[in-house]
Symmetry: none
Subunit: 211 residues, 2 copies
DNA sequence: ATGACGCTGTCACGTCCTTGTCATCCGTGC
DNA sequence: GCACGGATGACAAGGACGTGACAGCGTCAT
């Protein structure tokens, strides 16, 4: 069935990858940047619902269209609850699958605050999680706000004043070196443990996050 | 809001009519042969609940999705009692509205709102039952509303303000620590007896329900 | 009526973390 | 060597959070 669908999609000029188990799908979706996922409920090993849940908790927010042979109400509800965006019952017309996939991709996924990524640094404003690669980093509120400011303008040199305006509540007028101190604290958490150097000092101008 | 939803639905290739009052909605639904009704609770004149009841007694059996600005328990119960088939709390993702409308139109019958599951926590808005695994948990009204707010956005960090807006009826002055107190009470019921730690504190930001 | 009881929101207090400042140290350009 | 901008360790003050106690309120059975 998966191969059949894949052949049909390729025939439409789209590209598609096939995974035969839930684990495989999660790995593939985490690696590749997929636009939409077609997920059969009946899978060897972990089933489609669980796969969908794990995809979501793995940070994959691509729309999921669930395929099921059964038309039971519980299945549909379970599918939607597991984080599915649409539900199609087998047997179906291939044109309908296409139409639904088009509808799903047109919407551009769930409107959830998108995580910011710069290199292997990832910052999720919604969950307030920060990851260097696959290792979570614990930041305080101010450190988080500062890093977010940097990640919204990767590569740009940001002045101390700009950083103060964006990561601190009130604009400090006085000659404070808070920014310097916090850049140092940030470096100690996101760079030093990993031997990196993403936060650069630009003498006389400010700091920049290397893209 | 109604115009916004209508535009979104039309964009999906569906057709939609807008009514701005309860009376208008009843007249329109009685004339046209509608598939599903989206009904805001807050309406000028007769409110959403009463509108729903009158729709039913007028012989309109199309599924009704109630829209509520607040997540108050009373609203939900009232909405379901008035003959609503599902309810959605503002603000919501448009994709979720679509998914629920699809689910409503696909099934012909009247099903109640689907239970929410996060890990082995289960919360059924319709029956007001909460289970940790297979063990039922007894919650007060406020505790229930708070937990439901968390379970609608698992993994996300929710600010005290967001929690107040969604689980409490009126907006409190932010000097109060009700949220802290109730998070504590919730922890004592859903976490401590089970040695879990699903409700995390995010210093300087709020709380989050671990997915 | 009355008392018991549970729910709700407030408050005070203790603990621990965060925050911003300061003094000092370091490297670079003159 | 010297001046300057930046880095860093130490630290005090304040803030954020958790918790127990408590009063007001409504419900319910007596």
């Amino acid at each position: 069935m998966a191969t059949l669908i894949r052949r049909g999609l390729v025939h439409e000029g789209l590209s598609a990858d096939v995974a035969t188990t839930g684990e495989e799908a999660i790995d593939a979706a985490a690696d590749a940047d997929v636009d939409v996922i077609v997920l059969d409920v009946m899978l060897p090993g972990i089933d489609g619902f669980e796969t969908c849940r794990r995809l979501r908790s793995a940070g994959v927010w691509a729309p999921v269209l669930m395929l099921s042979a059964r038309d039971a109400v519980e299945d549909r509800v379970a599918g939607l609850d597991a984080g599915g965006d649409d539900y199609l019952v087998k047997p179906f017309a291939f044109t309908e699958l296409l139409a639904r996939l088009r509808a799903l991709t047109r919407r551009g996924g769930n409107d959830r605050a998108a995580p910011l990524c710069v290199g292997d640094l990832r910052l999720d404003p919604a969950t307030r999680e920060v990851m260097r690669g696959s290792i979570p980093v614990i930041l305080s509120a101010t450190e988080f706000a500062l890093l977010e400011t940097f990640m919204r303008r990767p590569g740009e040199v940001l002045s101390r004043l700009h950083l103060l305006d964006n990561a601190w509540d009130v604009a400090y007028e006085n000659r404070s070196n808070v920014v310097d101190v916090y850049v140092g604290r940030l470096r100690r958490k996101i760079d030093e443990p990993f031997g990196r150097c993403s936060l650069e000092t630009v003498r006389g101008a400010g700091y920049r996050l290397r893209p």
